[in-house]
């Protein structure tokens, strides 16, 4: 590297808290980004990667955050030493940023045109007419179809992928030299993720930008980055060209990350096993009402005539993009929302049962929710959370017997029973998901509906949870309905798979057949987006 790097982070530290209780979030890290280069900061949540990126633009909550040491040189000028006024010249102009959550990063009260034009006027002093022309050009550039029509749209009228495209257009408006992307695809579907990554890579090479890419997903890193910095606990433990890191990881943590993909195979499919849950022609329609008399003019067909069978000791995987109706299907089977069609559970026809009549059956039909942060009441200790179901379904147990059961199930899911009087916020995401699994398992269910139980977790934790679920299934002969958009997890757990789109089944069959020999374009597109991060031709998947 003969040229001086564009951005050079030298010996940077970030501390949070004031006075006595300071904690180091970033601990003496250094890295360089050359012109036109993409550097990825990789690490699990809490490793300090986002904090490092935010400190480049001094966006941390000062003064509770501080920099005990280090410099951030951008074209030779120290950003940390700049005044607020000088920084404004850099922020949004030379260095721009895109965030993880496209919904909350856009102002919901302004149209897209307004938001992009505002930037152009502010930073480049453009007049109305050229600013509008430039906005159209930018939207075209980020691949929004019919940009003319989209100018007046509000953020909620766009899909997640389109919103992220608008965010990118805003970041590009001032022709930045460095783009910081903080997990820009984590909140998106795999298919959309592949499209956004392709867009970013294309823009980067066309404009000669540099990019600092923050992610926890090594698959993305391999696809997009020139160089990788692996972070853990605030330190960069390994850095090097992407190819070398993947081919020959030096540090134990890097190897741990690389090995962290969900592995293993589901138990062999057994078509003769007794069905636990059978749904026939399940439909969940939400009426669209219009006019003064609220007449039903149309229906949103969230689930439109689907047949499912889940057998003892087997897992049925349900995959699809967001909005395909997979969670709605699961909730309908668990009788959390009303549906039409027949649902047979354990030989009972349950679709017409009232809430009270369902109660004895609930014990054998459990749900594990997606978000381990939302699904545990913050005001109850985990012992109280787990024993809540026991109080309903086994009211005769004495408090001591209940306590024993709670301790036993915590052991089973791999948590220390001594921690059972702690509160959810004292646990990490993976531990919380174990608590949520324990809450379901303590009742000895026969059927568990798992609604994206791994998608809010770090990669290595995902693998552990998948292993836990598989061992519980083997031990108790459980039937799982596993809903996920993550095909890697599905492949590791499911015997049978159904692929859903717009409330209908696109393809169904044994797992090996779906993954080995997909029949439809849609399934093929999903698989290539998930495993190879490749985009499909326009029209097959959503934009």
């Amino acid at each position: 590297m003969s040229e001086a790097p564009l951005l050079s982070v030298q010996d940077l530290s970030v501390a949070f808290g004031q006075g006595g209780g300071q904690s180091m979030a970033v601990d003496h890290i250094s890295f360089d980004i050359a012109k036109g280069e993409t550097v990825a900061l990789v690490g699990e949540s809490g490793s300090g990667k986002s904090v490092s990126a935010l400190s480049v633009l001094k966006l941390l909550p000062y003064p509770s955050a501080s920099h005990p040491s280090g410099k951030i040189l951008f074209r030779g000028a120290d950003l940390l030493a700049m005044s607020e006024k000088q920084l404004r010249q850099v922020r949004g102009n030379k260095i721009t940023m895109i965030f993880q959550e496209p919904m909350t990063s856009l102002n919901p009260l302004h149209t897209i045109e307004h938001q992009i034009v505002e930037i152009l006027k502010l930073h480049q002093g453009m007049a109305d007419r050229p600013a509008k022309a430039r906005t159209l050009e930018l939207l075209n550039e980020v691949g929004i179809r019919d940009p003319q029509k989209r100018l007046d749209a509000y953020p909620h009228q766009l899909s997640g992928g389109q919103r992220q495209r608008v965010m990118i257009a805003m970041a590009l408006a001032n022709e930045p030299e460095l783009l910081i992307a903080d997990e820009p695809t984590t909140a998106l579907d795999v298919t959309v993720q592949a499209q956004i990554l392709e867009l970013l890579a294309g823009l980067k090479s066309r404009k000669g930008m540099s990019m600092l890419f923050i992610t926890h997903d090594l698959g993305i890193v391999r696809k997009i980055a020139d160089r990788v910095c692996v972070m853990t606990k605030g330190k960069i433990v390994e850095t090097g060209p992407t190819k070398e890191i993947f081919a020959n990881p030096q540090h134990a943590y890097t190897r741990h990350l690389l090995a962290a993909e969900p592995k293993g195979k589901p138990p062999a499919a057994n078509a003769a096993a007794k069905p636990v849950m059978t749904g026939k022609d399940i439909k969940v329609w939400f009426p669209i009402k219009q006019g003064f008399f609220r007449r039903t003019v149309d229906n949103v067909k969230a689930v439109d005539g689907i047949d499912v069978t889940v057998r003892v000791g087997q897992t049925l995987g349900v995959v699809g993009e967001s909005g395909s109706g997979k969670t709605t299907l699961g909730l309908a089977l668990a009788r959390m929302i009303s549906s039409t069609g027949t649902i047979q559970f354990n030989g009972h026809d349950i679709n017409q049962l009232s809430f009270n009549a369902m109660r004895p059956l609930r014990r054998e039909l459990q749900i594990v929710f997606q978000d381990p942060f939302g699904s545990l009441s913050p005001r109850m200790s985990i012992a109280e959370i787990i024993e809540e179901g026991l109080k309903i379904h086994e009211p005769k147990l004495s408090p001591d017997q209940r306590d024993d059961k709670v301790a036993a199930v915590l052991n089973e899911v791999g948590l220390d029973p001594a921690t059972r009087n702690r509160y959810p916020h004292e646990f990490s995401g993976g531990q919380r998901q174990r608590v949520a699994i324990a809450r379901a398992m303590v009742l000895n269910p026969r059927f568990v509906m798992l609604d994206e139980p791994t998608s809010a977790l770090d990669m290595s934790v995902q693998a552990q949870v998948v292993d836990l679920l598989r061992s519980l299934q083997a031990k108790h002969d459980l039937a799982y309905l596993f809903i996920s958009h993550d095909l890697k997890v599905i492949r590791a757990l499911a015997n049978d798979v159904i692929v859903m789109r717009n409330g209908k089944i696109v393809e169904a069959g044994p797992s090996e057949q779906i993954f080995g020999n997909p029949q439809t374009d849609y399934t093929r597109a999903l698989i290539s987006a998930a495993f190879k991060i490749e985009t499909a031709p326009v029209g097959i998947v959503s934009q």
Binding site: M336, R363, Q366, F369, G374, S375, R379, S381, G389, N411
Partner: protein, 381 residues
Amino acid sequence: MSEASATAETAPARIKRPFLSPLNKRRLQNFKANRRGYWSLWIFLVLFVLSLFAEFIANDKPIIASYKGEILFPVLVAYPEEKFGGFYAVTDYRDPVIQDEINANGWMIWPPVRYSYQTVNNAIPEAAPARPSWEYDAKTRCNQYPQGAADPACIVGNWNWLGTDDQARDVLARVIYGFRISVLFGLILTAGSALIGVAAGAVQGYFGGWTDLLFQRFIEIWSAIPVLYLLLIVAAILPPGFFILLGLMLLFSWVALVGVVRAEFLRARNFEYVNAARALGVPNLTIMFRHLLPNAMVATLTFLPFLLSGSISTLTSLDYLGFGLPPGSASLGELLKQAQRNLNAPWLGISGFVVISLMLSLLVFVGEATRDAFDPRKTFR
């Protein structure tokens, strides 16, 4: 590994759950950390508990008396005058004849202030309203007693520490009783409106839809009824009284809490942990109590002290206007009204003002500290 887990399974250590959850402990600490609120709470509690025993502090009856070898409790038991050789149905212990009779045949212990809120002092040195007793010299103070300054009744116990009102009743006694009735009124009204308001808000927020829509429209109409006119009309039909007033106020004051509680329930009813509880088969009522109410409790508890001080000032202003408690009862509003009519007697106004403002300030400080204690941003720092 398997061995370790086996031993752990056979002997799971029982851990006692702490009395206060860590969260509540932190809240208590936050409350204590607000020194002003913490001290206000103690001062208020001391004053309130003292005022609950007002009969033992300011009364026109002895607390305990011994008469012909018999121990009597005139504060608690109404003895007829026959017992002491008279002929009225009720004994007036302030009557010198009765006093002489009891002192001759035993003894009696008086409360520190020898007036109740309705006792008329017949021996005030000048026309009512009379100044506080400490403003007169000994001679003037006792000029109405038969023997002047040498009279056995000319003692500190018979002083009017804060003067008398225009009906020659002791202001200190009236203020003590008035404080008690105001605080009790406020507490009962607040508890009642909290109970009704939280229940109504919870039902609306939890069930939503048509229940919510109809209830909200009802509340809009209900809260548009002018309370003061209603009180005027009811005062013309029913005899005014503590409980009628309380009931009437309660009819309208519960609305204040509904909005807050409804919003909290509406927000939290589709939280994932509430759905998780539903999936476990937990009944609606339990979900509302165990999972949703704690969320709403923070907003409610923060609101309560202000509702309390609001109720008290409402009672005071009704009394001031003359639509409050029945005539003759100890009321701070009535005291203020007298002060307005007797501008030449500033002790009326000053006493009323000091007591009311002290009471309301203490409650607002307590409320402020409660709000701080439940402030999530403070709690998790």
